[in-house]
Symmetry: C3
Subunit: 116 residues, 3 copies
């Protein structure tokens, strides 16, 4: 069964597709911003990756959200609620954990269904 | 390939079924209690969801356990050991991370096989 | 659909195989060592498990790396970069979280494709 890697770099691949699933971890691209805007950015990156895989946010199965600071939970949720496909939302797990760039406030790991 | 969402709310779905797998994150419902009782509660929620998907705890493939305090590892394991299907246990990963309600002591994320 | 459990113990199974995927969490075996050597050890354990499942590191789909101390990110990456199958790397998510043995500096959770 074929493994398709999107943007494979030496250290990691941006996303990986196998057996009708895509595996992806999204980080924000606007590191100077607050948690609301970082979440918007990370979610926009998810939209882009899913589009490349002929999928979209209505097909996300699970999402694990890591936030650097608990007090950003409300801001993260605000961006999430504005973005999520209501009625087709994934199961979700959110925890506070340390992130690998000091500017990161949020990181979002997903598994989604694709048609490839 | 069909995606079945159990209890879809605006923000998230309680669980999601796709391609013979169920994705679910369980939280305790007895927030006034200790880690032993919270783990029992979270595991009972897993039993309920799996039953709704025509599955059960012998079909769990992986479990990721997040505990708020490292010193609750023993209490969490006690409830786990009393519950787990010995010989049919999932692979397991446990880390300490911050949880999103201050009363939460444990949160359990699973992927299990279903027959749907 | 069959579930194959590698080294099933009462509390957990070392790894679980189902529907062409293997689920596994690796911990280092050389607990007296630094993060570089612990990562080498955890990655060597991944190689061993994948070999038992007729798979190998070119078939890893996603990896979640938990490190106990952010300052070990560089040492962890050094061991990772020396080991990873360049061009066939998984998607990767790394966070700092508390680990369950005080000697643990790194823990690596993977999902990989197998031919079973």
């Amino acid at each position: 069964m074929t493994i398709i890697r999107l943007d494979p770099e030496d250290r990691w691949s941006e996303a990986v597709i196998h057996n009708k699933l895509i595996y992806y971890t999204s980080v924000p691209t606007n590191l100077e911003n607050d948690a609301y805007k970082q979440t918007q950015s990370a979610l926009a990156e998810i939209d882009k990756i899913l589009a490349r895989a002929n999928s979209n946010k209505t097909r996300i199965l699970e999402a694990t959200l890591f936030i650097a600071n608990k007090h950003d939970f409300t801001a993260m949720n605000q961006a999430w609620d504005e973005w999520v496909a209501k009625g087709s939302a994934p199961t979700r797990c959110t925890v506070q954990a340390g992130l690998m760039k000091k500017e990161y406030l949020v990181e979002i790991k997903i598994i989604a269904a694709v048609n490839q």
